[in-house]
């Protein structure tokens, strides 16, 4: 039994979560302050993967990063980077696809903190970045944890978008969800069951972990 798809999936989910954490902390902070039309448009774009069929997103990423034309051609010629049918491509697609799961809870938590917390810190002479690091961030820990786990779990379950941009290349882009599909296609139900059971178990442990961690919160961590 080839366990590489499982390791590849865990690697993809870990890298995606880390990248999204770095991108989404400042992004969510910026979005949480004010509601300009520009911010609404950016937020709508970030939210699109929640409602768009993954295959549509994958199709456009495939077009955009194809080495034959446009951005993909420029990246290939300038930096020798190829996003189509490569692990980097899976990471890029996952980052876009899972972004709303990271941004949403962090933004919502920052908005729920009283404005007076930041203001008190400013009157004590602290800069915006120090206030964010030492006052805001420590007080949204449960939401931060929820966002990370949901992003990780959501990346584990990606199928359409990774299939479109990455294909099914063993040890490169063949993640667990694709391995399940591939095993069923080749009538290997035992392998499909093993992959499915492992994915189910990991996801269940993660989600129940979030609920246990947030058990003292009044609301469901998914709200």
């Amino acid at each position: 039994m080839d366990l590489n798809p499982i390791w590849l999936t865990l690697k993809l989910a870990s890298i995606t979560t880390l990248i999204l954490l770095l991108i989404c902390l400042p992004l969510a902070w910026w979005l949480s302050k004010g509601r300009s039309f520009f911010k609404i448009v950016i937020e709508a774009i970030i939210t699109m993967p929640l409602v768009l069929p993954p295959s549509v997103l994958g199709f456009y990423l495939l077009l955009a990063f194809s080495p034959q034309h446009g951005v993909g051609k420029w990246l290939h010629n300038t930096f020798d980077l190829q996003f189509v049918f490569s692990f980097q491509g899976l990471v890029l697609a996952s980052v876009i696809y899972s972004m709303p799961f990271m941004v949403g809870p962090i933004k919502s938590a920052l908005q729920q903190l009283p404005a007076s917390l930041s203001q008190a810190s400013y009157t004590l002479g602290k800069s915006k970045s120090e206030t964010f690091r030492r006052v805001l961030l420590p007080n949204i820990k449960p939401s931060l944890f929820t966002a990370m786990v949901l992003t990780f779990a959501h990346t584990l379950g990606e199928f359409g978008v990774v299939l479109m941009i990455g294909g099914n290349i063993p040890n490169v882009t063949r993640v667990a969800s694709i391995a399940v599909y591939d095993s069923v296609e080749s009538m290997d139900y035992s392998a499909a069951n093993t992959y499915s059971l492992i994915l189910f178990s990991i996801t269940f442990v993660l989600v129940i972990g979030v609920f246990i961690f947030n058990r003292t919160q009044a609301k469901s961590p998914l709200e």
Binding site: T123, L124, P138, N139
Partner: protein, 207 residues
């Protein structure tokens, strides 16, 4: 000497109204600010602290101009060195009592003195969630004093306290304000509850 001349448009249920204040305050005075809800008492304090900006205005403290809308000058809240006690206290849930003060100042001797003044020495490792209303209120005041401000702004600091606790705190504060020679602006709904504390007052009416 603090010179304030500001005009700010406020949103109200009845439409728009203006907050217009033109006053001077002498150093070391304790000013009670009162007026009906929605008149702009909190906004007035926030404008002084640099946390809100008026449409038109001028604020000068001693010889430094903090705000002048005609020249688009506005000193950031960080540079105004104002002690601000928020109505909801705005304590940081992640920090202990001592950490609140350490966040504001590195002066260990001053921190220890403040803890003594506020009678919070034995609670220095407690977080705000484990303090009573009165202890939280004292911590909010101590944190504001930790930066050794010349001007202290207090937004309805006693609203959540019962009568007895209020009286005890007011007595302590009288001594403290005199000792630190602070200029203090206190917003209150009931000026009579601060009997003996202030020596000047400002009524903010709806315009």
């Amino acid at each position: 000497m603090i010179t304030i001349n500001i005009e700010k448009k406020l949103k109200a249920y009845s439409g728009q109204q203006w907050l217009k204040i033109n006053r001077e305050f002498i150093d070391g005075s304790i000013i009670k600010i009162y007026g009906p809800s929605g008149a702009g008492k909190t906004t007035f304090l926030k404008i002084i602290a640099g946390l809100a900006t008026p449409e038109k205005g001028f604020i000068k403290v001693d010889n430094t101009i903090w705000l002048d809308t005609t020249t688009e000058t506005s000193l950031s809240p960080q540079k105004r060195c104002i002690g601000f006690v928020f109505q909801d206290y705005a304590l940081f849930p992640n920090m202990t009592v001592r950490e609140h003060l350490e966040y504001a100042t590195k002066d260990t001797q001053w921190i220890n003195r403040l803890l003594t003044i506020g009678k919070l020495e034995t609670l220095s490792t407690h977080k705000p969630g484990h303090l009573s209303g009165g202890q939280q209120q004292r911590l909010a005041i101590l944190r504001a004093l930790a930066i050794k401000p010349k001007l202290l702004l207090m937004d309805e600091p006693f609203s959540a306290l019962d009568h007895d606790m209020k009286m005890v705190l007011i007595d302590d504060l009288k001594v403290l304000f005199a000792e630190l020679r602070l200029t203090v602006l206190i917003v209150t709904h009931h000026p009579q509850e601060l009997a003996g504390l202030g020596n000047d007052e400002l009524e903010i009416a709806t315009n």
